[in-house]
Amino acid sequence: MTGGSDEFGVRLRVYEGQPAAVSGVGKDPVNLPMIRHWCEAMGDTNPAYEGPDAIAPPTMLQAWTMGGLSGHVGRTGAYDELLTLLEEAGCTSIVATDCEQEYLRPLRPGDRVTFDTAIESVSEQKTTKLGSGYFITTRTDVRVGDDLVGTHRFRVLKYAPSRRPPAGRARRPRPVVNRDNAGFWEGVAEGRLLIQRCAVCGTLRHPWLPGCNACGSLDWDTVEASGEGTVYSYVVMHHPPFPAFEPPYAVGLIELAEGVRMVSNVFGVPYDKVRIGLPVRVEFRRYDDDAGELVLPLFRVVEGEA
């Protein structure tokens, strides 16, 4: 997303002070049926909200201004523009975080509500548990005729959700294939583990690189690894969780029989049974997900060794 750049923040803050709704009119006058439905939902049995002298529950203030299924009334272009700008920047979700209301006089059945809303502030980019985004604060003055009956400050977070899809459904991360390492991944696709060998001094190397660390030569060929190796070192990942993997799991630094080392998952034993020195053997695993097919070299602990 675009967020974080000051330029974007400046574009957002242009909207501060602009009206979000002008002379909005409540879709329904304050009425007993809507009050009763509200009280039923809330389990509110306050007698003040019933009978001939009923008032509306003060906390219904915002409900009288809601657009419902047929959309908002009186909304200006500015508020929609601000939301669109944020959506284009990846902030597709919205959640309300704060509501501050002041009730100057009770609303009664028959009252016709009108309202004006201003965009009070747009925050800097904030990172929350839900995701990264921007807080928008609006202030609404609610009137009946010329009388101010209540004020309503409302804050929403418009954000890009940080998703954590269940493991197994998430795409496994793809290797970065470039011209220096393409030969390795071509080998893996054919079920062959290829090690680079310097054409001049014969030194083996992994990961793949353009030149030889020992003599500097740029000439090389490959040898196919036997696939046998041992755990040279390992870590167990508990946190942070990564969408494609279900922690805990073991990541090993495998020393191949030929002498070079590579990083991959170690499996075939529980994560807490992985030890330095365990014999392992390469296994080419195939993954199919919505990004297509992927083959990766993983290392299975040789049976009877854990």
Binding site: K27, M34, H37, W38, E40, A41, M42, G43, D44, N46, P47, A48, P57, P58, T59, M60, Q62, A63, M66, G67, G68, L69, T92, S93, I94, V95, A96, T97, D98, C99, E100, Q101, E102, Y103, P106, L130, G131, P161, S162, R163, R164
Partner: protein, 167 residues
Amino acid sequence: MGTETTRLAAGTDLPPLEIPITRTLIVAGAIASRDYQDVHHDVELARQKGSPDVFMNILTTNGLVGRYITDCFGPGAVLRKVAIRLGAPNYPGDTMVLTGRIEELDEETGTATVRVIGDNAIGRHVSGSVTVTFTEAVVTVTLTDETDETDETDETDETDETDEGAS
């Protein structure tokens, strides 16, 4: 069932209110508040937006906080200000416990400011402050044990137990 009335003062803890968070409450609250955002009634779309389930909208929380305070302060109580901040969402199957503590109480004007907190199994759903005016500075608590059936009366300034309330 008997009741107990407690004279209110700054520092008084209000009796807690447990609210089971049902799918019905979430949907009924959203519709009663005219909030048709899909995350408050459509599980599939809520999941697509990264939420594990539908969750309560802020207007319902606001309504429940208001109900909690007027229930505690009894007939004659009028809400003047309600300011809330949301944290952990209210998902179906959870229970929210609302608690309140009186921060300021002015007998002359009959005005109290109450700090309200609503916790659920995953954390603090709501915290906020409510200003309410009242006609009588007592809170009525429904008793669950047998002690209210006796004629004992505690004559301290703080409490006044009676056995006459059949609620």
